[in-house]
Amino acid sequence: MNCRETNDLLVDYLNKEVTPSQSRMVQAHLSECAACRRDLDALSALEDRVRRSLHGQAAQAVPSPEAWPRLQAALAGKNRSVVQSIQSLFTGGTLMRKLVLSSLLALALVFGVVIAVPSVRAQVREMIDMWYHFRFPERQSSVGVGWGGDSEAFPPYMPTYLPNGLDIALSGGSTAPGAEYWEFEFHPTPRRKGDDRFIRLIEGVGENVPGLPEGREVMVGDQPAVWTSDLEPRHEVTSDPPTPASAQVLSWYIGEVKIELVSNLPESEMIAVAESFVLMQEGRGDLPR
């Protein structure tokens, strides 16, 4: 067994999840390879730290005393949801009864949605703290993003140039400790069979946003950028079809904003898109009416 084969088994070996013969082979290799022994020690230390960290976090996490009365109230039906009520209509009964109920429910939903839209909008208005609305005048499209956080989102940069047929399809945001992200995706609009071009754009600000990766160095305008074909989970497109295997990532900074442009467009096109970025000016606004 060589170092690579041993290395592939070290985590399972530490977790006592190897077969007896694998265990013997790993031990034999370790007895004569100082590098792999150090690797085993490092992995063991890492596992200990992960265990300690998880148990430390869990030790401080205690459910509140109100959790049980709240559950009791829910169990007693005080908080019975509309969905549960509707579900209960369908438990038991004949097929005809279910069909009739389905039809009535469908009709009720159609009327309910039409009538309730203004009130639903009012609820949405209360739920989110801020509303961002960005326009793309050249492409006659726009995107609205509700932000329910306790602070303003940073204004994102957007491309003013996109290859023919691509338009914004998805937008959103997320936060993690020490990091805030905007995410946008551009797909052929309307979708055309066989056209799998896409752009996924991730913009991050914060101390925990990963820096530029290793890769081929290129320039976006006068900014150093990195080109790589190593995709991380966050680079995967969020809609069907799945991320094409030919996708690459172009990463660079505009000020403190880390930009990642993931796409299967040719390199020259990606650079052209990257060099067209401008700061979105619409920014904070009201919920569209």
Binding site: N15, A35, R49, A58, A61, V62, P63, M127, S174, T238
Partner: protein, 184 residues
Amino acid sequence: MDLIERSRGGDEDAFAELYHQYKNLVYKTSYLMLDDPAEAEDALQEVFLKVHRSLDSYKPTRGAFTTWLYRITVNHCLNRRRRRRWRFLSWAQVPPHQVPTHPSPESRQSEQDAVARAIRQLSDKLRAVVVLRYYADMSYAEISQTLDLPLGTVKSRLNAAVRTLRAEIQSSAPGALPDEEVAK
């Protein structure tokens, strides 16, 4: 087992006892998956509502009660995290009631511990395996049963998680681990 049988039979005291016996398992696991006390508390309620509704579907012959409970808890948290990463179409195409909520402020608190930070940066799938292995102390077979995954997938995910954690900790806190020799 008696507690479960009595709960199945509608014995409210038995269900209360079941809740108090397992509330920490559900809450702490949810907290480790969601990073947020309020969301963990919501998960605690949702999971026990589901337990109450589906106790009849628990078959002791197919595994321990805790494995079943972990499965409900982790699946709930994975679904919750999927909903948390909100995104939607242009306004004209979006039904307004689908506007999602933003992660709560609690999840933003600064985290100094490089290991905790690295765990939080794992993808949901890798994180679930890490929590079950290193917090719940499950074997690969138990994780496989809990997440309904082939054993080989559990192995590959745990290996990927450990490699990711190692790289992340070494890049964010050099020297945090005793030896930084990179796997060959």
